[in-house]
């Protein structure tokens, strides 16, 4: 357990570097950041947030089931968690596709009608990097929860041994919290149309 907490602290430092860069540039280029944020799909982002919160609920319930040794519950709740996770990733894929065809991917592909083109590109750099690393961690998380689902079904966990379920639960909640921070920072900057 302690090992997992320490690992999560390293993950905070890892994501923290990107958050730090984001904050610096948001301070300097607020208008560009606001403009970029307005091109996020508010509804998909909000739905994704709800999806992840529900997945954390099912994960927490799975941990409880493990503590009580309820084989079927562990497996079912883990599967529900996985389904929510996959839903998140699916929605993310839809969003990414939307941004891609709108030329909102940084680099040679990038096109932007409006002012602050370079700075908006910076915003999207952060968007893709931060959500990309988050999605990568989600994929790993889905893998870990699958492991729990499988072994939970086989009856490995019970009051005598539920450590791995707790650890995976911790990891999953952490990935959820990262999204809780990402969502307002990327999707909710401003809804005032900022011009000039």
């Amino acid at each position: 357990m302690m090992g997992m907490w320490i690992f999560l602290i390293t993950e905070i430092m890892f994501f923290g570097g990107m958050f730090f860069g984001y904050m610096i540039y948001r301070y300097f280029y607020y208008n560009a950041w606001a403009a970029g944020s307005q091109h996020m799909d508010f509804w998909w982002g909000t739905i994704n947030t709800v999806v992840l919160l529900c997945s954390s609920l099912s994960m927490a319930m799975a941990v409880r089931s493990a503590q009580l040794g309820q084989r079927k519950s562990i497996a079912v709740l883990s599967l529900i968690t996985i389904l929510f996770g996959l839903a998140f990733l699916g929605i993310k894929a839809i969003e990414y596709h939307g941004h891609w065809i709108a030329h909102e991917f940084p680099g040679s592909r990038f096109q932007w009608e409006g002012p602050y083109s370079n700075e908006v590109q910076l915003f999207f750099s952060f968007y893709w990097a931060m959500t990309g690393f988050h999605a990568l961690h989600m994929v790993i998380g889905v893998g870990l929860v699958s492991y729990i689902a499988w072994h939970g079904w086989k009856g490995r966990y019970g009051p005598h041994y539920y450590n791995p379920v707790e650890n995976v639960g911790l990891y999953w909640h952490f990935v959820d919290i990262v999204w809780i921070y990402l969502y307002p920072l990327l999707y909710l900057i401003s809804h005032q149309r900022v011009l000039g």
Binding site: G16, M18, G107, F133
Partner: protein, 542 residues
């Protein structure tokens, strides 16, 4: 442990318990993993040293005549990257820490033995990537990867180098994680925090830095790689990015990294000085708090590498002041080691000679660090050989000496053999002389204005450069000697008793070399760490 008076079959220990390559490559025994690390980092020491040799050869003459300027850039970059990430950062923690920490706290192994093995494999994989980078032509950014040079203006193998370091960084993170959990959770009964050997405290502080700092380097290198691949602009002023952002992120790790490199060495010195003064370390509590203070304060000073980078003057003032603060716990340690020796019964054994060397040379390096922390002086000497001399005094004069001192001190425990003491002393002396001859002239050179990272220089600097190169060759000889006689001792050295130095500490209560699980029964600790007044005064092995 059965004490047989028979000379015939060797007692079972961690070395002879199993033979065969897979018993080594798939081991989870922390002692075997420590030896795997030993081989790996020694190899990288050779590689990094090879680059150093070429640098010093080029600098024998003022003209750039040995290599092209671009090649020279690659030489000093690879020297730095290999030495920092593949030798210094792993050295004491991964070799001595891995071997000793479980035994010192009375445990059978680390908390996560398989993660320990994974850490080693990560270092190897990172190392392979780094060797690939070298063979493919290397990187010429300087070990610091400054942007936008590294992201937009060079076509060298920045990404593979960054990836190599990224992977090696996870080796470091996992080792740190392992140590923290082990020290928290696996101490034997009676081994309270205030009874821990200072070596354990030092590695604990190091582990905290590894865990908190290295991930920031990881993400920074990732962003550099992404910037190169996708032409992002996060660090590119032409696209609204800020090169200073890179420097802040980079140094946020890389300054604490230097404390990762030095703190374990300080732990070694505490153990050696106590043993060869036959005295408890003076001010145990202050020493333990000092390593924690260094770890914490070390996170607050990173921008002293950026005084002339275009940062605000007020930021410079703040970081300068904080850098002065971080010197205080280091000074406390130096004073306490000295006080430990006062009225002690000193033996001038090889480990003790290295400890003396450390204390003196680390002090010089640390004081010159204060020169650099002073804004007015820094403007004059930054990016000159003064800085190079400063950090080599600490990393080579300090850390490498502490590492060698620790290797000599614990060699009997690790290998079950004594190294030849006279050769040990000779090598220590050669290293000390070679080191000072190499690096002291560099202080003068820097003060006189010779810039770093230049492959040619003004002719009036030549004499000092020649002295420096001469010193480097002497230093090289000094380093080769221990490698030779350690290997020799594995076959021909005198078999070592459990406690050849009559030292205090749980590691000296187990056999030399230890058995795979260290202790037959979990020890119960009832005394403080350096109970030298209770131990018999036994003459030290000569």
């Amino acid at each position: 442990m059965a004490t047989t008076a028979v000379a015939a079959p060797e007692r079972e220990n961690y070395l002879n318990k199993q033979y065969g390559i897979s018993s080594w490559l798939l081991t989870t025994d922390h002692k075997r993993i420590a030896l795997l690390y030993l081989v790996t980092i020694t190899l990288f020491f050779f590689i990094g040293g090879f680059f150093a040799l070429l640098i010093r050869l080029e600098l024998l003459t003022p003209e750039g005549d040995l290599v092209l300027a671009d090649t020279y850039n690659r030489l000093f970059t690879m020297h730095g990257q290999v030495m920092v990430f593949f030798f210094l950062i792993p050295a004491v923690p991964a070799v001595l820490g891995n071997f000793l920490i479980p035994i010192m706290i009375g445990a059978k192994d680390l908390a996560f033995p398989r993660i320990n093995l994974l850490s080693w494999y990560l270092l190897v994989i990172g190392g392979v990537l780094m060797v690939y980078t070298i063979l493919a032509g290397g990187v010429d950014t300087g070990w610091t990867f400054y942007t936008p040079l590294s992201t937009h203006f060079l076509d060298s193998h920045v990404i593979t180098a960054a990836l190599a370091i990224f992977v090696a960084g996870f080796s470091s993170i996992l080792t740190g994680l392992n140590f923290i959990v082990t020290i928290h959770k696996m101490r034997a009964p009676g081994m309270t925090w205030s009874r821990l050997p200072l070596f354990v405290w030092a590695n604990y502080a190091t582990a905290i830095i590894q865990v908190l700092g290295t991930p920031v380097l990881a993400i920074t290198l990732m962003l550099v790689a992404l910037e190169r691949i996708f032409n992002l602009g996060i660090f590119n002023p032409q696209l609204g990015g800020d090169p200073l952002l890179f420097q802040h992120l980079f140094w946020f790790y890389s300054h604490p990294a230097v404390y990762i490199m030095i703190l374990p060495g300080m732990g070694v010195v505490s153990e050696v000085v106590a043993c060869f003064s036959r005295k408890r370390v003076f001010g145990y509590r202050a020493m333990a708090l000092a390593v924690i203070a260094i770890a914490v304060l070390g996170f607050l000073v990173w921008a002293h590498h950026m005084f002339v980078a275009g940062m605000s003057l007020y930021a410079g003032l703040a970081f300068s002041l904080l850098s002065y603060f971080v010197a205080i716990p280091s000074a406390v340690k130096v004073f306490n080691w000295t006080a430990t020796m006062y009225k002690g019964s000193i033996s001038y054994t090889t480990p003790m000679l290295y400890a003396f060397g450390f204390i003196g040379l680390f002090t010089m390096g640390g004081l010159t660090g204060l020169f650099l922390a002073c804004l007015g002086i820094d403007v004059h000497v930054t990016d000159t050989y003064f800085v190079i001399a400063h950090f080599h005094y600490i990393m080579v004069g300090g850390m490498v000496m502490a590492y060698l001192g620790g290797m000599h001190f614990w060699w009997p425990k690790i290998s079950g053999r004594m190294y030849p003491e006279s050769w040990g002393k000779l090598a220590a002396l050669i290293i000390f002389i070679g080191f000072n001859l190499t690096f002291f002239p560099q202080f003068v050179l820097g003060y006189l204005g010779m810039p770093r990272r230049y492959w040619q220089y003004s002719p009036e600097f030549q004499v000092l450069n020649v002295l420096s190169t001469a010193g480097a060759t002497i230093l090289a000889v000094g380093y080769l000697l221990p490698m030779a006689y350690f290997l020799w001792s594995m076959r021909y050295g005198k078999p070592a008793p459990a406690n050849p130095w009559a030292a205090a500490g749980l590691e000296w209560t187990v056999s030399s070399p230890p058995t795979t699980f260290n202790f037959d029964e979990t020890p119960v600790v009832t005394t403080e760490a350096y109970n030298y007044d209770e131990l018999p005064e036994v003459p030290v092995e000569r």
